[in-house]
Amino acid sequence: MNEKFDAVVVGGGPAGATAALLMARAGLSVVLLERGEFPGAKNLFGGVLYRKQIEQYVPDFWKERNAPVERQIVEQRLWMMGKESLVSFSHRNEAYKEPPNCFTGLRVKFDQWYANKAVEAGAIPVFETVALEVIKEGDRVVGVRTDRDDGDLYADVVVIADGVNSLLGKQMGIHREWRPDEVSLAVKEVIQLPKEKIEDRFNVEGDEGVTIEFMGETSLGMAGMGFLYTNQDTLSLGIGVMVNHLRDKRIKPYELLNSLKQHPMIRKLIQGGETKEYSGHLIPEGGFDSIPPLSGNGWVVCGDAAQLVNFVHREGTNLAMASGQFAAEAIIEAKLKGDTSAAALKLYDEKVQGSFIHKDLKKYRGMHAMLKEINPELLFSKLPHAANEAAYQFFLVDGVPKAEKQKTAVRLIKEAAGGSMNLLKLGYKGWRSMNG
């Protein structure tokens, strides 16, 4: 298959499929390369899909028969976990239903459905094929070598969308290997539970769903977040922790997940359920300062492969899709001009820089440095513990005057932070890191 195409897209996830879809629609000849049996076969995420992003490419997708979504989210909860308690913040609103804000989803179904849209638009599917390396002529990328016999694919532009473990990106020297403090490992179980039980336990009806994100003692002193999302008749329960912390703590990832399942507030929600799948995946969490150069001579890099994840807001698939879109737009423009050099593909960088991707990741730029600087025990164990203890004391009716309870609550928080000055510094640092 030594043919030449306008573009070869490596990776059939949301970034690659978006790029392939939009280029195919514009009439470009595109190959969509995927190493799994089918797109999505090796993909996994926490489980939230954002309507606004997807409908730009497939309008009203959620109204399709066999729409690749589970439940539309009407309530989002944030839990700060104590050992056997939690302090909760949540928002539920009927307005999230029409139109839906976001959905829960499962990647195997979603990615297959979505990549199929690209194939329907004319992209050529080449699945079960690994891109081993890029083919270069001088300093220009002109194609990819695959693990199939006779598997060289030539193209004007190679779209690198091969995910967090972007061997291609590393091999090309676009970026060095990620450091353990730039990635989280998330492990997840999909737990089957009858619909009625889900509706009762989460107080929803029909297709309504709930997301819960949690931090605190459930990550056993490591920096990390957990999640519990409602699907149609399953729950997605998982937790991600920074890989450097996981290594230091020597806790087996699945034991972390097992311990999470025993937390009283989680246990009661998943009780009686049957685990249908266990999975694990890295999440690129390096943030703004880990984003590599996005384009060069005959190539662009999108999605997780370019560290485009907003871990503060658990957004990733939408950034992946947006980057795939910008890449496609830049390539279409470059093809029209007959110039797919680095200078022409720079348009992709400019589009990303002018978008929410750049703005959001820049806003949280300091977050990564802060997480490195502050002992994870403080943020993910001591403070959540103190908050839970303070709330417990405050609401406990035991004859102690309220003014005294208020003092106790403040004292507990201050002590956990290591004194008033430290608490102030922490607050300031936190504010700065979220508003860079």
Binding site: R35, G36, E37, G40, A41, K42, N43, L44, F45, L106, R107, V108, K109, F110, D111, F127, E128, T129, V130, T146, D147, V164, N165, L167, E177, W178, R179, P180, V183, L185, V187, E189, V190, I191, T234, V243, N244, L246, R247, R250, I251, K252, P253, Y254, N258, K261, Q262, R267, I270, Q271, G272, G273, T275, K276, E277, Y278, S279, G280, H281, L282
Partner: protein, 95 residues
């Protein structure tokens, strides 16, 4: 809800195993010198196990869920990690 061990969990995943490992220990000496044997802990699929008698790290690549943690977290960068051959390795049914 009952707790399941790691082998029960991995049993839920469909694998198509290549007869050749996609995970290689680069230098066996490095494992011998490694004081912490971190890979025995951080792998979500228990792929790595230090064999005290034989003094080598066993690599159960058949269990690999292709997350990439070992490649990044091995303290002596001693694991050669590549994707399994196209179509091989894990296939999730939900994701």
């Amino acid at each position: 809800m009952s707790q399941t061990g790691i082998s029960d969990k991995l049993f839920l995943i469909r694998y198509k195993c290549d007869d050749k490992s996609h995970l290689l220990i680069k230098e066996t000496d490095n494992c011998m010198k490694c004081a912490t044997k971190d890979c025995n802990f951080f792998c979500p699929a228990d792929v790595y196990e230090w064999d005290k008698k034989e003094k080598i790290t066993h690599v159960a690549y058949e269990n690999c869920i292709e997350c990439g943690t070992c490649r990044i977290a091995c303290p002596s960068d001693n694991i050669e990690w590549v994707y399994p051959k196209g179509g091989y390795g894990i296939t999730y049914k939900l994701g």
